[in-house]
């Protein structure tokens, strides 16, 4: 009896052991256990450049970044607000002690997180452009034409970013690869070399891109968009003849471009004076600019147009009434930029954030002509803008008078658009003269932002720091 029981147990044990061993080795024999799925929300790099939609997305994302977070975005971290405060365009009414206030009072320091963020986001976009350029280069999936157009757009974005960066920081690096080892030790190059690189990128872009707007709307770069930027770049470089040439190209293309006579239509998305604008991400959304500048009741919650700007405008300037809003508490008035008026979702978007428009090209050509002593030509272009604003022809007749008149006109025409005012007073060399009396914290070295301290600490090749920081 006992024996039988023992045997039975033994058989049970063996079965259990067998099962156990099976379970154990069913896993261990399976080398695939450590195979895992690709992460959702991520696409392997190579696959992006095997499909037209994703390859295009790698390029359109560059515009998405510009619209939402890099340099020319319309919200509070874009050039419009930041450099508007830095110049004499905007007054600051927001919370005490934050970066905007430091910017407004010219108390920027080298470790400022906003400066770091401007820098980091700009170079992240440069990396994205470079990654797209390399991905396209290495892909054999697409037609030459498709590839060229995307390449042209990436080069345009790279040039655009560096154009703003060189005007903010002076000598900067110009990365053209995704190789992180090279980029982490990259040297900064002098301003003139940066410009040469920008020109190289833009000229190549211009040669690759077509005449038509790719998607019908004026929201992706084509040859005209590149020309518009080139005109501005040449102007900043003082290459007057080239600036005039590029702006003329655009102004003369009347099939595509013409000035909107009604000031209320200039900033609509269908405006024929628009050369390039950034389309909102969500259907029905409008611009960040409208949301950030417009306020309803006094005092201003964040920023308001400087009263000096309003006072300086001629009393019959139509732009004063059409593009500027006023809020009053009965005794005092505050003003805001009212170029874009749609603060909220409108079902179908009505306004896009405009990057290049025809009026700037007239002003560029006017300035380029004035500097080449083409007084009449300069006056003509200037008067186009003045007349549209309901003003009489300019009284400026000498080159110097014209230059002053143009700076003034640019101030009234382009206020709160991507920091034009700051870049103008900077390149005209009149920043000190204008800001010294009104900003107690102003010093001459504020003409450049500091290179972010964290960057300098990590990459000594970026030394020296800009003076004054």
């Amino acid at each position: 009896m006992k024996k039988i029981i023992y045997k039975r147990t033994n058989i049970q044990n063996r079965t259990i052991v067998l099962w156990y061993v099976l379970i154990f080795f069913s896993f261990s024999n399976c080398n695939d256990f450590l195979e895992i799925d690709d992460p959702i929300g991520q696409i392997p790099h190579e696959e992006v450049f095997m499909n037209e939609t994703t390859a295009t997305a790698s390029i359109t994302s560059l515009y998405g970044k510009l619209r939402d977070e890099v340099l020319i975005n319309g919200n509070s971290s874009g050039m419009g607000v930041l450099m508007g405060l830095y110049a004499d365009e905007l007054d600051y009414y927001g919370a005490q002690g934050d970066f905007y206030e430091n910017l407004f009072f010219h108390n920027v320091i080298a470790s400022d997180p906003t400066v770091e963020s401007i820098w980091a986001k700009a170079y992240n976009l440069v990396y994205m452009s470079n990654a797209a350029l390399e991905g396209l280069e290495n892909s054999d999936q697409f037609s030459m034409d498709f590839k060229n157009k995307l390449r042209g757009e990436a080069l345009f974005v790279r040039g655009l970013v560096h154009f703003y960066m060189v005007n903010l920081f002076g000598d900067i690096p110009y990365p053209k690869t995704t190789d992180f080892i090279m980029n982490s030790q990259i040297h900064k190059i002098p301003v003139n070399l940066v410009y040469e690189n920008i020109l190289e990128d833009l000229n190549e872009a211009k040669s690759l891109l077509g005449d038509e707007y790719i998607s019908g709307e004026r929201i992706r770069a084509n040859r005209w968009v590149v020309s518009a930027l080139l005109a501005r770049v040449y102007l900043y470089m003082g290459r007057w003849q080239d600036a005039e040439q590029e702006s003329s190209n655009i102004i003369d293309n009347t099939t595509l471009f013409s000035l909107e006579i009604d000031l209320n239509e200039v900033f609509l998305k269908e405006s024929r004076s628009t050369i390039f604008q950034l389309k909102p991400g969500n259907s029905g959304s409008n611009t960040e600019e409208a949301a950030i500048y417009i306020f309803d009741s006094p005092p201003p919650p964040f920023v308001a147009l400087s009263p000096n700007l309003i006072e300086a405008m001629e009393s019959n300037d139509l732009r004063k009434t059409e593009w500027i809003g006023e809020v009053s508490d009965g005794t005092q008035s505050w003003y805001y930029a009212n170029k874009y008026i749609q603060q909220f979702n409108t079902g179908t978007s009505m306004e896009y954030s405009i990057v290049f428009r025809l009026a700037e090209q007239y002003l560029i050509r006017s300035e380029a002509r004035a500097n080449q002593n083409n007084i009449v030509g300069a006056q003509q272009d200037l008067n186009v803008i003045r007349n549209r604003a309901g003003l009489d022809n300019t009284l400026a007749i000498t080159q110097e008078e014209l230059q002053q008149a143009i700076v003034k006109e640019r101030r009234f025409e382009l206020f709160t658009e991507q920091g034009h005012r700051w870049f103008d007073i900077r390149r005209f060399g009149i920043a000190s003269q204008i800001l010294e009396p009104i900003k107690p914290g102003w010093s001459v070295t504020d003409i450049l932002f500091p290179i972010p301290e964290s960057e300098l600490l990590i990459n000594p090749n970026l030394a020296p720091q800009n003076s004054g920081y």
Binding site: Y20, I23, F27, T56, G97, S111, P298, N345, G441, I458
Partner: protein, 1095 residues
């Protein structure tokens, strides 16, 4: 009980009332029953005798016995009423043998029948086979010991010895084992057998260590035999503390374990560092194991939704564990203990064991606690008068006489006579908490169960109705078959947390708001914007944060004893954590001047999901070899984890009342959508050899594969060697009753980096453009990185004196972490700020751990136990190749700890100019960050520890626990604005420079428009001036309890409990609470009163 004794030819005799006598007789009978052979089968005694039945008849059993007595020599002895009411027996006419007749008459299964030598047939009912045992318990000196618990093993039947050491109890059967236990004495077990008197001499407990079983994860070990470094905290120390997160209960209680809270807000994360920071960049989190199954502690929170109120959005998933459901927490520290966890053991292992059911009477327990909580410490800030004086002086210093329009505080816009204590107004409310809890446990030897349920509700210290609710359920089921071959242990816990908080923490505002800032609400109760002159912080409370978390964790352990020495076991576990949270941002939270409407209102949602399972087959073989014992464990681990995160913004609502309905939003933007997998596959082994019960050798090893590494670097090998020698057995010194030295060496790993970091991918983002998806490169990728390795060495000595009333342990450890996985900081010109890679850098953590436990007093009524632990640790960066040219040049210094700050060295305020001056290290006349931030401030704690004192007097218990930390930390100036700007300051700024010649701590006040003073202040906040001594001694917990025993044998008790947490803090630190320096809510002082009813 009455006994019926029937003699031949005599009437039944009634035995008297004297119970003592009766008992004696009973005992004698029982004795007889046990000693006499159950010999009814021995036919020789009864067989020869026959009785004759004359006619068929019905007779009672008693009548049958009368017949037998009449016709034979036999007599009967049995309790009088034994057969009362029994059915009558049918007797047939004829002759029948006595044994057969008895067989017919009474059931042998119910009764024992014994024939004594003198022909008395003794009958006893089997089910009443009780046995009375009595005896006396004395100590080694022969003195009676009162209060000794005498328990029938496996039941809760028992008694306590009386003042003369005697006891008496009834046992159920002879196989019962009596357990004699008393505090301070070694437990003794005696099998009852046939004994009725069991006298015991208790030995004083010289080696309590033997009995303390330590959970080492894959195996258990006694404190005496352990070769590794394992600290243990018992449930009794945890359950009484009035905190939410079980990790908080460990603060200061364990050597080498440094625990800090990130914020006083419920649900916030907890930082745990076991023996310092090993990894420069990868995670330094320990591995958590709950009931044998790894519990992923990584937060499911998203900083986008919860970052405003919970520091870094890091929500501790350990909040799901109810401290009262914990049986014990063990922390594994050295290589010997942690190497079996291989790739994840580098930062230590925290083992949480939940409560289990115990066999015996079903026990019910119910408790109810009510408490209050308040912030620990406020910062001393300027009052209105001092503040306005500061502001006016600042304007005067800057030469500004006309106060600008925006200087609302001093130019008359705001009432200059107002004063608000903003700390009181914004974070100074009293939070109320309420907790009810119930548990049922019990079962038989074979199957035991435990169920615990808890509901908790807690309000916040913020103004407004915010609360944290938690429901937890914990269950345990254990089963073993009769032979104890098959065993099952199942644990399941489920927790629902509902956390409702303001969208942002106002602690920063509470300090820096000007004391004369306007009212929070206007007369009609609306948020007061004071004509848009300030950002009313209370508007932040319109931003609501709501978090619902569900946590399930289960574990099942099945084991089967194949043979005496061989066990197989399968551990399996499944867990799921879910978080759904959102933060609302209604338009009303913004200054109405923006003209916003509900079309601008926004909700940010986040869903985090984690599911994981684990399967661990194991084989355990135990064999005696000569004078030793060998134990071999083999096992494998297969683990898989899936993580999903989904974040959405909803913008624009018809009205704000729909703001928490995402479907009502006019625009929905998907912010992030992430799904990742993580798998590990491992084999492990442990070989343990104990020789003569005094030499111990322990070898552990593990081979681990993890999907966090590229295909070519997936596997790593880890292992350790530990040894211990109990030398006291050989020394035989009277006063030293225990002495052990132990040592260990081994390698563990760390894979705490994100998933998929080795892949080059594009991430899909929400930045749609022209209806095409947004795509951006995910990272700079590196397919080559590998495990981080941690080599740990330890040597320790453990001593016990005076019969272990004084125990002492001392450990030295040295851990070196190499092949560092670094998120190597890069200049952003690379497009990103870092890349993940291995670096041949080495980090050393070494230190001493010291523990002393003493029982100064122990008597019948009074006991005092005291223990002290101190950990001293040094963290050092030993090597960092090419540090000078690396991105870390100005962050780390070779030979210094990792957590340092490189700062300007503040020389003080120049008495002439009134401006801060700093040391110009390279004497170039300029202060540059790279060259002159050379002051190294060490922010690692120098030492820390705890002092615990436990007193009990009769039914009273008092537990007083102090925590202490010696460290330096950032003071109140770190996040401050220049003194004189529109922000309040600590009262320390009153010692300022006012005129040439003044010697002061604070430079001259400035409104910010004096560039020189402004720049100097910004250097000051990056200088040694922001470092202060932040050491503290804190009355961490205090418990006063009174237990009221009720009912028979004290089975029912009611325990009244008064507990406090963070009651008192002694510190020189001026910047508020020394533990909370990030501008978040400081830890809370808690006081709670409750009762616990045990039935």
């Amino acid at each position: 009980m009455e006994i019926k004794l029937i003699n031949a030819r005599s009437n039944p005799m009634e035995i008297g009332i004297n119970k003592r006598l009766l008992l004696m007789i009973m005992r004698t009978f029982i004795f007889l029953l046990c000693t006499t052979v159950f010999s009814f089968n021995t036919e020789t005694t009864l067989a020869q005798e026959k009785v004759t039945i004359e006619v068929d008849k019905e007779a009672t059993i008693d009548e049958v016995f009368e017949i037998i007595i009449d016709q034979t020599k036999y007599r009967f002895l049995y309790p009088k009423d034994l057969f009362k009411g029994a059915p009558k027996v049918h007797l047939k006419k004829g002759t029948i043998r006595v044994d057969k007749l008895l067989n017919q008459t009474i059931s042998l299964s119910r009764f024992n029948i014994v024939v004594s030598i003198d022909d008395v047939i003794i009958i006893k009912e089997k089910s009443k086979q009780q046995q009375q045992v009595s005896g006396k318990v004395v100590d080694e000196a022969g003195i009676p010991v009162p209060g000794v618990t005498v328990l029938i093993k496996g039941t809760n039947i028992g008694v306590a010895t009386s003042f003369d050491g005697s006891y008496s109890l009834t046992v159920l059967n002879p196989e019962n084992v009596l357990v004699f236990s008393a505090l301070g004495f070694a437990k003794q077990e005696v099998t009852v057998g046939d004994k009725t008197v069991i006298n015991i001499t208790l030995k004083e407990d010289v080696s309590e260590l033997d009995e303390v079983t330590i959970n080492a994860g894959y195996y258990k070990v006694t404190d005496r035999e352990k070769t590794g470094s394992i600290s243990k905290v018992n449930g009794s120390e945890i359950e009484n503390q009035a905190v939410n997160n079980p990790l908080e209960t460990l603060q200061g209680r364990m050597t080498g374990v440094n625990i800090t809270t990130t914020s006083g807000v419920p649900g916030s994360g907890i930082n745990v560092r076991i023996r310092g920071q090993n990894s420069i960049m990868a995670g330094n989190e320990p591995l958590y194991i709950i009931d044998g199954i790894p519990f992923d502690s990584q937060s499911l929170g998203s900083s986008i939704s919860s970052g405003g109120i919970i520091p870094r959005g890091s929500i501790s998933s350990l909040n799901a564990i109810n401290p009262a459901s914990i049986e014990s927490i063990e922390v594994l520290k050295d290589a010997d203990a942690t190497a079996i966890y291989g790739s994840r053991g580098a930062n230590g292992v925290i083992l949480i064991t939940t409560k289990k059911g115990k066999a015996g009477k079903t026990k019910f327990s119910f408790s109810n606690n009510t408490g209050v909580a308040h912030i620990t410490k406020k910062m001393d800030v300027l009052n209105t008068e001092q503040y306005l004086e500061m502001r006016r002086e600042a304007f005067a210093n800057d030469g500004i006489t006309d106060y600008p329009f925006y200087a609302y505080d001093v130019n008359g816009t705001w009432d200059m006579n107002r004063y608000t204590d903003w700390q009181e107004t914004l974070i100074g409310y009293t939070a109320n908490s309420h907790k009810v809890q119930g548990s049922i446990s019990g079962g038989s030897e074979g199957t035991r169960f435990f169920i615990n349920g808890m509901y908790q509700n807690e309000t916040s210290v913020f103004p407004g109705k915010f609360n944290y609710d938690r429901i937890t359920v914990n269950t345990n089921l254990q089963h073993s078959d009769k032979q104890e071959k098959f065993k099952l242990d199942f644990n399941a816990g489920y927790t629902i947390e509902d956390n409702f908080l303001p969208g942002g923490d106002l602690s920063y505002y509470a300090i820096y708001l000007p004391p004369n800032a306007p009212e929070l609400y206007d007369e009609s109760g609306n948020v007061n914007w004071e004509d848009g002159t300030w950002n009313n912080p209370i508007a932040q409370f319109d931003n609501k944060y709501k978090n619902i978390s569900n946590t399930l964790f289960t574990s099942l352990s099945l084991s089967y004893k194949l043979a005496n020495q061989l066990d197989i076991r399968l551990n399996a576990g499944y867990g799921a954590n879910m978080i759904n949270d959102y933060v609302t941002s209604p338009h009303t939270a913004y200054n109405p001047a923006w003209g916003l409407t509900s079309a601008n209102s926004m909700v940010t949602t986040n869903q985090g999901n984690k599911k994981y399972w684990t399967l661990e087959p194991q084989l355990n073989w135990e064999k005696s070899l000569g004078m030793g014992k060998l134990n071999i464990l083999l096992g494998g681990t297969f683990q898989s984890q899936e993580f999903n995160q989904f974040g959405v913004y909803g913008i624009g609502f018809p009205t704000n009342s729909f703001i928490d309905n995402l479907s009502a939003a006019s625009t929905i933007i998907i912010n992030n959508e992430v799904a990742t997998q993580y798998k590990t596959q491992s084999w492990f082994t442990r070989i343990n050899y104990a020789f003569k019960n005094k030499f111990f050798l322990n070898i552990t090893g593990r081979r681990d594969g993890s999907t966090r590494f590229g295909p070519s670097n997936r596997y790593g090998n880890f292992g350790a060697l530990g040894a211990a020698y109990i030398f006291s057995d050989d020394l035989k010194i009277d006063w030293l009753n225990f002495g052990k030295i132990r040592m260990s060496y081994g390698i563990t790993g760390n894979d705490q980096i994100g998933d998929y970091q080795y892949l080059q991918t594009y991430t899909i983002n929400s930045q749609l453009y022209n209806e095409n998806i947004g795509l951006q490169p995910s990272r700079l990728f590196n397919p080559e990185f590998q495990w981080e390795e941690n080599r740990k060495k330890e040597a320790a000595i453990e001593l016990g004196f005076m019969k272990n009333r004084l125990t002492f342990s001392f450990a030295y450890y040295n851990n070196r972490s190499s092949n560092q996985l670094i998120n190597y900081s890069l200049p952003t010109t690379t497009g990103f700020s870092s890349i993940l890679s291995n670096l041949d850098a080495e980090v050393e953590n070494k230190g001493y751990e010291f523990e002393i436990k003493i029982i100064p007093l122990k008597s019948k009524d009074f006991e005092w136990t005291s223990s002290l632990n101190i950990s001293q640790s040094r963290n050092k960066l030993l090597a960092f190749p090419n540090l000078e040219n690396s991105t870390y040049r100005n962050i780390y210094v070779i030979g210094k700890p990792l957590s340092i700050a490189n700062l300007y060295n503040l020389k003080g305020v120049n008495p002439q100019t009134g401006i801060f001056e700093f040391e110009d290290y390279n004497n170039d006349g300029q202060l540059t960050a790279s060259d002159d931030r050379k002051f190294v401030a060490d922010l690692t704690p120098k030492y820390f520890g705890g002092l615990s004192n436990f007193f009990s007097y009769k039914n009273w218990e008092l537990d007083v626990f102090f925590q202490f930390v010696k460290k330096k930390g950032y003071n109140q100036y770190r996040v401050s604005e220049p003194v004189g700007t529109m922000a309040n300051q600590s009262v320390d700024v009153l010692d300022r420079w006012q005129q040439p010649g003044d010697v002061a701590d604070m430079q001259r006040y400035t409104t910010g428009s004096d560039p020189e003073a402004f720049d100097a202040y910004y250097r000051f906040v990056q200088s040694s001036g922001i470092i202060s001594d932040a050491s503290f001694i804190r009355l961490k917990s205090l418990t006063l309890a009174y237990t009221l025993y009720l009912g028979k044998e004290n089975e029912t008790s009611c325990r009244l409990l008064l507990t406090g947490q963070n009651l008192l803090t002694l510190t020189k630190f001026q910047g508020g609470d020394p533990e909370q320096m990030d501008g978040y809510l400081p830890p809370l002082t808690r006081l709670s009163f409750g009762f616990q009813l045990n039935l």
